[in-house]
């Protein structure tokens, strides 16, 4: 299915060159999840849980929503995607490879010396990666800088930024939330991968974020609350966000950490632990 990528790139300057349907995206998301398992198991370290929870969001963005051109990662009019939760780099790398930014074979080099695929997303190493991330809470601010620049240059590109729920514990995330409203930005959409789990336990036990939707609303944001694994919902939420005028939009995507692999789902242990080769085999079977 993905072999058509080179053909459809012609149209990326108008929209997303892949433009896959929700049903097709579901298959792609599964494929990306398989890459994540293989990559992290091969590397022997990494964060599977938060990559798997974000797989459907990433699939929807790269194969339908974003106007981007893998042959020209620096295309000035591209929509921007900022991965603020930098530990979910594997799912981003999988999407970048499958859309043609670099060879899929390169995915097996994750976290290795001399690899372009660093442990956390890094704009110095990887074509298509916009921001060096990994210290949480900075991505929304960075995205605001990009969105301000679009306004200054009268450019129409949209800036998406994917946050983890955990990093909404960082004060800077809320500084950024205040300022996006202050600067009247409506060309930015934050997506929160709300999987409810952080490294050492459940968000609700460690630093409760609720009432979460009301917090964003109080900060002046338009909010959309969706099931983050429902591809139709993700697509329509992005459309709604891009149409929104006068205020920034946050899509709160309710997800399941480790989604797609039974023994990783809702399992705190797999926030930052690689599966063993045996576990990876089981996981890949479930993702067939």
């Amino acid at each position: 299915m993905l072999n058509h990528s080179k053909v459809s790139l012609e149209s990326t300057h108008q929209g997303n060159g892949f433009n896959l349907s929700a049903a097709e995206l579901q298959e792609i998301a599964k494929k990306l999840r398989r890459h994540v398992i293989t990559m992290i198991a091969t590397a022997g370290s990494g964060h599977p849980g938060g990559s798997l929870s974000a797989a459907d969001i990433i699939a929807a963005l790269y194969f339908n929503v974003l106007r981007h051109n893998p042959d020209d990662p620096q295309w000035p009019d591209r929509d921007r995607f900022i991965l603020s939760k930098g530990h979910a780099a594997p799912i981003l790398y999988a999407a970048l490879a499958e859309t043609g930014y670099f060879p899929v074979a390169e995915l097996s080099t994750l976290r290795k010396l001399d690899s372009r695929l660093q442990g956390h997303a890094d704009r110095n190493f990887t074509p298509g990666v916009e921001m060096s991330a990994g210290s949480l809470g900075m991505g929304l601010s960075f995205a605001i800088g990009i969105a301000l620049s679009a306004k200054l240059d009268s450019k129409n590109y949209h800036t998406y930024v994917l946050l983890s729920d955990g990093e909404c514990e960082e004060g800077q995330t809320w500084e950024a939330a205040l300022s996006a409203d202050q600067f009247n930005l409506d060309n930015i959409t934050a997506i929160v991968d709300y999987n409810g789990i952080q490294l050492s336990g459940r968000i609700s036990d460690i630093m409760n974020l609720e009432p979460f939707i009301q917090k964003w609303q109080a900060f002046g944001w338009h909010t959309i609350d969706i099931n983050g694994h429902d591809l139709n919902k993700i697509l329509s939420a992005c459309q709604e966000a891009e149409k929104m005028k006068g205020k920034p939009t946050v899509i709160v995507a309710r997800t399941i950490k480790g989604k797609g692999v039974s023994f990783m789902e809702n399992n705190v242990a797999f926030h930052g632990k690689a599966p063993t080769l045996e576990e990876a085999e089981r996981a890949l079977k479930e993702l067939e």
Binding site: N124, S141, A147, D153, Q172, E175, A176
Partner: protein, 311 residues
């Protein structure tokens, strides 16, 4: 000596640059009347962003703007931008080598009455520890204008430290600033004072006093701490045989440490240091504080004598 404000010069220079280049944007964190970025804000409101009391947010926004091709100047007090935002400076600007100019005012203890919370005495050590950063401390207002113009066309991150009070003019006439090339302010054969920022004027005073006592003291203005002009340091060590480093900064990690690194490797000679001991300062008038904490021409004079004695 005639005095002038480095931060006022900064504000005016920004306006000049803003007129020439539409890609220049300026960010501040509620302190624009003090950092003097308010001149720019008045003339180019659409290219000025007051980030309120959100220094960390400001630094990452600056990075995003730079990643989109803007030349970004971000200003607030030195303590707030360097000490509070070190992680943002590190991952958003230094590591990706983005074109953000951090111009901080109110560096050092000459902030005065506001006390320790407002006195950045560790900022140079921290900024020199950031790969890809250029670190500059102008000696006066003349040099400030030239340095700001230079960094605006020199791609990459930089930190420029300015002062709160007016400071003596050491360059009464226009002069050409070259990034990373220190300036020999006065020749001398018995010892060399390598100074930065407000300590350059004091080094010149000390050199006058020492001349009357028969000590011929060279004075170097090390306006760029990083990259460091190592050849001029080695030459001074070879030709004068004694080095004194003077800075308005803690003893560890600043210009003193950096010069010592070069001296030990290239040309070991007796060294003395005029800087702040390992503690915070206090409230007081700028001049009173400089006296109390040992940053006067007299302190430099004593250090030169001590270094010469050890030759």
């Amino acid at each position: 000596m005639i005095e002038a404000s480095t931060r006022e010069t900064y504000g005016k220079t920004l306006v000049e640059l803003g007129r020439q280049n539409k890609d220049i944007v300026v960010l501040d964190a509620d302190l624009s009347p003090s950092t003097m970025t308010n001149f720019f804000a008045r003339e180019f409101p659409e290219r000025f962003f007051n980030c309120g009391l959100q220094e960390q947010n400001m630094i990452a926004i600056a990075a995003g703007l730079a990643a989109s091709g803007k030349i970004v100047f971000a200003s607030t007090f030195a303590v707030f931008v360097v000490c509070r935002c070190f992680d943002q400076l590190r991952l958003c600007i230094s590591q990706p080598n983005l074109n953000v100019k951090i111009v901080a005012t109110h560096g050092g203890i000459t902030v005065g009455e506001d006390g320790a919370s407002h006195q950045a005495i560790e900022d140079l050590a921290l900024c020199c520890a950031l790969p890809s950063f250029t670190v500059i401390v102008p000696a006066d207002a003349t040099e400030t204008a030239e340095a700001i113009k230079t960094v605006s066309i020199n791609h990459g991150p930089c930190y420029v430290r300015l002062s709160r009070p007016k400071t003596p003019i050491v360059y009464p006439e226009r002069y050409h600033f070259t990034l990373g090339e220190a300036v020999t302010m006065r020749q001398g054969t018995d010892a060399t004072v390598i100074a930065t920022g407000i300590m350059v004027a004091k080094a010149l005073q000390a050199s006058d006093i020492l001349a009357k006592q028969g000590i011929d003291c060279r004075v170097i203005n090390m306006h760029t701490l990083k990259p460091l002009d190592e050849p001029i340091i080695v030459k001074a060590a070879s030709e004068t045989g004694a080095i004194v480093v003077a800075e308005e900064h803690l003893s560890q990690g600043g210009l003193g440490s950096r010069v010592a690194q070069t001296i030990t490797r290239e040309k070991p000679v007796p060294m003395e240091f005029v800087n702040l001991d390992d503690s915070y300062a206090s409230s007081g008038k700028a001049d009173e504080l400089l006296q109390r904490y040992g940053l006067t021409a007299r302190d430099i004079e004593e250090s030169v004598k001590a270094a010469v004695k050890r030759k």
